[in-house]
Amino acid sequence: MSKEERLGKETGVFQSHRHFWNNSPRTVLRTGPGRSGADPLRVRISDENIKGEFTPEMVDVEKLVNDIARTYQDLPLLNGDVFQCISFAGVVPWMEAIIGCHIYSLGKGGASMVANPANIEPSDLPQHLRSLLDNLNENAWFKKLSDGYQALAEVLGAKFPIANTLMRGPGDMVGALLSHENFVGLMLKPAVNKDFLNELLGLCAKIYIKTAKMQLEHSKEFKGGYCNGWGLWAPGLNVRHQDDEIALLSPKLYNEFFLPYDIQEANAFDYSTFGMHSGVMSLYNWRDFAKKTNFSAFEVALDPNGPTVENLMPTLLGMNSKKPLILVISNAEQAKVVEKHVGDFPGSILYNEVSRS
């Protein structure tokens, strides 16, 4: 492809991404192959079987950014209909780490990390989070993430757009701090615990917003905007948000505890995508979500153990009638069904390429 043709294609991509955010009818975007398996830190954890407590000192920013640069050096700017975009160490549960959870690496085979509750008395948590919020720049995990984004922008920012790392929202943060079952148990007694939980959620929402904005500030603007983790460009601050804890709530508890902070997060950015799963009960809130928040797009991960895509179609079409929709396809069977219905979606959709083998 000549330089002119490439430029033409890129210009078309910006236009199609604007259509996506406007939920323009029948806008269908497809990604190229996913690159999550190429995360150099994930690969290193698996290869070197790094297992046990994982601390910020174990992230070597310079080495990691160089490894990322090597992984991406020969890749084109576009990946299907979206941009090839880069983020820093998505394998680390950054938000849970920043607020004081113990991060545990699962080593070979697992190549994943989990956040265990912090060793802090629940009654001390509000003060802990207030102090963290006032001194966020001093936090070792926050500093590491900040260093990572500065280095990433310096080395790769001129070639590729840079997106926020995988970030979990206030619900997941508080769930990780307290343990998930305890969190739900406390929510079941709102008369006693409502103020306490709201304080924790509110502080975590502020820490979340500050951390997301820090990454965007370090990432260089890309053609007057930013890309999210999907490589979707938007002419403004653009983040992807995820709160899997929703699966453990009911609509009543969601509205009582989570919705106010989802509204705050959506208002903090120009463009935001909210990630949900289909396999657990987390799609129940989409109507309230679409009506009461300024979130720009829905993302639904089509879990293999959840309802079939055929059964989900009425919900997906309903969601898409209100907001643009990103579908995360897990297997070839789901891909076939999505493609069969692609013309039925009333608004704009993006979905990922999956292996047909």
């Binding site: 697992g110 190549a111 994943s112 739900v184 079941l188 453990l248 879990d303 153990n305 897990s330």
Partner: protein
């Protein structure tokens, strides 16, 4: 005459005051603990389970019902142990190696316990050898394997292979579950059952030991 429906309703509503109160009343009225369990408490868990399956109840309601049931069963324990009521069965459960997610496993454990199962929990990130060693030493009806990550699904296959290699496969039924798991994956690795959620896990466990 004691009204079992009220006790059932207290469990369904997760009413942690009414449920122990009514259980005490039933005991004072001389009703055997097994009858209180079978006619009052367990139907409540069954009902909330059905509502959950239909999407009419959510996890918090399930948790509240289980906690309510737990408080009531604690009052019945002395009587139940006197009458030597055997557990519904013995279940050993764990999240496979490489995966430290435990909430799904914990919910399954909670549902099983409230349905009368004796549950041994090996925790998370459990290597195949540890499952084998526990099954070799103890007597369990069912082994439950949990995984949340696509990349840890193969570890379930490893456990089943390790059980076969150790000559333990016929000693225990294997049930699998977790977000990326499907019936076809369960069939492919030779598991005896797949459960899509905790309510189904309790149901399938019952039917597995009946066979």
């Amino acid at each position: 005459m004691f009204n079992f429906d009220e006790l059932t309703k207290a469990v369904v509503n997760g009413d942690s005051d009414a449920s122990p109160e009514l259980t005490k009343k039933a005991l004072q009225a001389g009703i055997p603990a097994t009858e209180i369990l079978d006619k009052g408490l367990l139907p409540g868990m069954e009902l909330i389970g059905k509502q959950f399956e239909k999407g009419e109840a959510f996890f918090p309601e399930l948790l509240a019902a289980a906690n309510t049931m737990k408080a009531a069963v604690a009052l019945l324990k002395p009587e139940l142990s006197k009458s030597k009521v055997p557990p519904a069965g013995k279940y050993i459960i764990g999240t496979v190696e490489g995966d430290a997610h435990d909430i799904g496993k914990n919910i399954v454990k909670m549902m099983l316990e409230q349905n009368g199962w004796e549950v041994t929990d090996l925790g998370t990130d459990v290597p195949a050898e540890k499952f084998c060693s526990a099954i070799e030493k103890g007597r369990f009806d069912i082994l439950g394997l949990s995984a949340l990550l696509t990349i840890t699904m193969p570890a379930m296959d490893d456990v089943i292979k390790a059980l076969k290699a150790a000559g333990l496969r016929n000693k225990v039924k294997v049930m699998v579950g977790g977000a990326p798991i499907t019936q076809s994956f369960a069939d492919q690795i030779g598991a005896d059952a797949y459960a899509k959620d905790a309510v189904e896990a309790a149901k399938k466990a019952k039917s597995l030991v009946r066979r």
